[in-house]
């Protein structure tokens, strides 16, 4: 068994990032798109914490905490927008939300 190096964690983070991007680009359900965005942010966090371990200081972990805070704020606002839009037009498909004003 090859010992686990930083590259292993970076590969996992890249895989999660790409899966998140696939989710954002291909799904129609708005909630699943928002969850894929959370997955992307998590992949970035994993990357940062892996590098923080590699260099031996805590800057990566502090920045990861900021990203978690940011993701929480963005999830709340995104879901708020979704609910507000859902009240107007009863759909949760991304490709049906295509009119600026009707």
């Amino acid at each position: 068994m090859v010992p686990i190096t930083t590259i292993h964690y970076l590969v996992v983070a890249a895989a999660l990032f790409v899966l998140g991007v696939v989710g954002v680009l291909t799904r129609r359900n708005v909630v699943i798109v928002l969850m894929s965005i959370e997955l992307i942010l998590n992949a970035v966090n994993l990357n940062l914490v892996a590098f923080s371990r590699m260099w031996g200081n805590l800057y990566g972990q502090a920045f990861a905490i900021f990203i978690v805070v940011d993701a929480a704020a963005e999830a709340a606002v995104g879901l708020g927008i979704l609910i507000a839009f859902f009240r107007n037009k009863e759909t949760i498909h991304v490709d049906e939300i295509d009119l600026l004003k009707w």
């Binding site: 686990i4 696939v22 805590l58 905490i65 708020g80």
Partner: protein, 187 residues
């Protein structure tokens, strides 16, 4: 910064993480992510995302970052996912789960993501030589104190990220206000 000059690299402590746990947690997180983007039912996707988030918290523990792992479990697992589940239950319509789940451009999206993955793996392959060949040991016992020193400052001085911390709390306030105003029926 020369990694060999860091005194922590020669501490020589035995690694906590065994490859078994790494592969288990990484596998669980990727399986969870795959399940999340393919499920028809949004609640199943949310449960799969919870699996992914908890596995990533485990990976943080293996990376000697217990505080970030704790924050991940509390904020993501106990906060954001509960929020997602609430909203799924509020906006879930029965007919939605029987309609088309993937949009019309899905081959293009998949192709672009594969190109992105190839780009990432290429960059990792090329940049492998830049990384130092031994992982450092961050002292785990004082992890919380170290992050607190960065965020709050110690010995009377401001930390490096104190200003950013205050801005982050303002960001959360703005987000709360925005979410409340947007979801009110009458402003």
């Amino acid at each position: 910064m020369n990694p060999m000059a860091n005194p922590l690299i020669n501490s020589g402590a035995a690694p906590v993480a065994t490859p078994f746990f790494f592969y288990l947690l990484a596998g669980l997180s990727i399986v969870g992510a795959l399940l999340m983007i393919t499920r028809r039912n949004a609640v199943h996707s949310a449960l799969a995302l919870i699996l992914t988030l908890l596995s990533v918290a485990g990976l943080y523990l293996m990376l000697y970052a217990p505080f970030v792992a704790g924050v991940q479990i509390i904020v993501y697992g106990g906060g954001i996912m509960v929020l997602f589940l609430f909203v799924i239950m509020l906006v879930n319509i029965e007919r939605v789960s029987r309609e088309r789940q993937f949009n019309r451009m899905w081959p293009v999206g998949l192709l672009a993501s594969c190109a992105l993955l190839a780009l990432f793996l290429g960059a990792l392959e090329k940049g492998k030589s830049l990384l130092p060949d031994r992982l450092m040991q961050i002292p785990e016992a004082s992890n919380t104190q170290g992050i607190a020193a960065l965020l709050y400052g110690d010995a009377g001085r401001m930390g490096q990220y104190t200003f950013a911390f205050e801005i982050a709390s303002l960001l959360l306030l703005v987000a709360i206000l925005g979410a409340v105003i947007m979801t009110k029926k009458k402003i």
